[in-house]
């Protein structure tokens, strides 16, 4: 299986987040819990759905990643833009809304 992680948006703030190993949600893709194991991926998705029910996040889904020199990168243009912000102006790039 390809390397995958879970992304979603925080319910209250709406910002893009990734599910980490510890079960928290981070704004930084590199802190995401990524796995090639389908069982682990499904487990992550279940944890995410529990957090939907707990009203922490909305719309979770799995994204495809590659790891280059220890850095996680999304495969698709769309997910690259979600991870780093709009490509249109340097000062529009993502800054964390929630520390």
């Amino acid at each position: 299986m390809p390397l995958k992680a879970i992304t979603a948006n925080r319910l209250r703030e709406g910002d893009v987040v990734y599910l980490t190993e510890s079960g928290l949600w981070s704004n930084w893709l590199n802190q995401a819990c990524a796995s090639e194991d389908e069982t682990v991926q499904q487990d992550l998705l279940q944890r995410a759905e529990a957090d939907v029910a707990a009203r922490k996040i909305v719309a979770p889904y799995l994204i495809d990643l590659i790891e280059v020199d220890g850095i996680l990168q999304p495969l698709s243009t769309r997910e690259n833009i979600r991870a780093a912000g709009p490509t249109v102006r340097a000062d529009y790039r993502n800054v964390p809304l929630v520390a």
Binding site: G14, T77, R78
Partner: protein, 551 residues
Amino acid sequence: MYRYDEFDHAFVQQRVAQFRGQVERRLAGELSEDEFKPLRLMNGLYLQLHAYMLRVAVPYGTLSSKQMRRLARIARDYDRGYGHFTTRQNIQYNWPKLAEVPDLLAELAEVEMHAIQTSGNCIRNVTADHFAGASADEIEDPRIYAEIIRQWSSLHPEFSFLPRKFKIAVTGAPNDRAAVRFHDIGLQIRRNEAGEVGFEVIVGGGQGRTPVIGVTIRKFLPKAHLLSYLEAILRVYNQLGRRDNLYKARIKILVQQTGAEVFTRLVEEEWDALKNGALTLPAEEIERIETYFAPPAFETLPAVNPAFEARRFEDRDFARWVRSNVSAHKADGYAIASISLKPEGGAPGDATAEQMEVVAELAEIYSFDEILISHEQNLVLPHVKLSDLPAVWDKLVKHELATPNIGLLTDMIACPGLDYCNLANARSIPVAQRISQRFSDLNRQHEIGDLKIKISGCINACGHHHVGHIGILGVDKKGEEFYQITLGGSADENAAVGKIVGPAFSYDDVVDAIDSIVATYLDRRQEDEKFNDTYARIGIAPFKEKLYAAA
């Protein structure tokens, strides 16, 4: 400008309180996302690629300085310091937080603004000519009727769950700047043979994945019957529009499938039953709304102003700006000044909070406190004295708002595209940025003349690519961004849908392709011939030959 009465105030405030309750229910878990989604959409709140996005209506594109300042404050306090003006005279904020949106809406309500019906399958913000009230070619101010339609369409009990979204545009001038043939309903103010003023009613236009030019179903509708006729159209559509297929649910498909003649008959039959009832507009009510849009107290001025002429003679940059960005006003000694939100390398339609405040100040001092938003994503100061134009320009220059490119190649429409939008297949804004850099030579742009390039990041066509002289449509090919080019479209009174020129171009090659098309045009045009005229005369083949010759 229209001012809210006590009922309008109560209406928007109650709506804010209602949404506040809905957000509380969502955050408390009483509403699921599936249940909450239609409620937030009815208040203009999307969940986009990066965050929530709030679309605020600018009814018929008209703002006071106070309202523009409030939009700036909201950009600063609730967002990241900028906003995006859209092709439907709305402004979008890209990063508001759900929990704060009720407060944001309350701030809007204080200045008589809202986000009601900027999304959802309902009647959307009614748009109008962006030179309304100022242009010399106007029969009547379309905003009088846009305001009347705004009232009638706000939370309409029968038409809040239509098969699909519904867009209405009104223009009062024969030169169509509101794209009335590309709306679900387009209203063109006309004078009949008896000299009475009424509406030509156009139905079933639209873009999206099936671009259609609207058809006239009534050549002349007396003013008093405006709302009963609209209600008849909407009632036919609400009952018969397709609900089984999202892509066939717009009224244009209903008109096509029933046939324009049958559709017209159904509307007229429904109208016969509604006519002369409670929806009839009393002449004194039309007059009452008209007074809100009465022309400001223009001074009696000579048509020529020496100081303005002198500056134009001395200052080539100013003269160039006047040539592209200043239009004829109906009053002598005044002009319409367009403010370009398309600087070289910029994101079309974006304005920072500081820029909004500068425009608010200029409007307050020089334009009777009035600002208009164009569907081409620019701002307009509608009533500037010729003698004030130099001062206005000087200030605009300081804030990167004086790009002299209105109507020219780099005055592109671009949707937010894959940089912001959940639906997009490809980026739009960076393509616009690269084109504007390639054609940054302003003298060359002025030499090329009027040329409309419009860019959409997906088939939904929010960037109006179908009606660009040159249209660019972003598509996804196996995970890569590609761009399909169309030629010959037009949104004005010569409405036309562009034709695909050939295979799509990669992100890297698309700017060269535009360059090639422009080169063919310059090479083949006769004297001052417009792009679409050259295209009509020589056809698509010469463009194609040059574009694909190297391949």
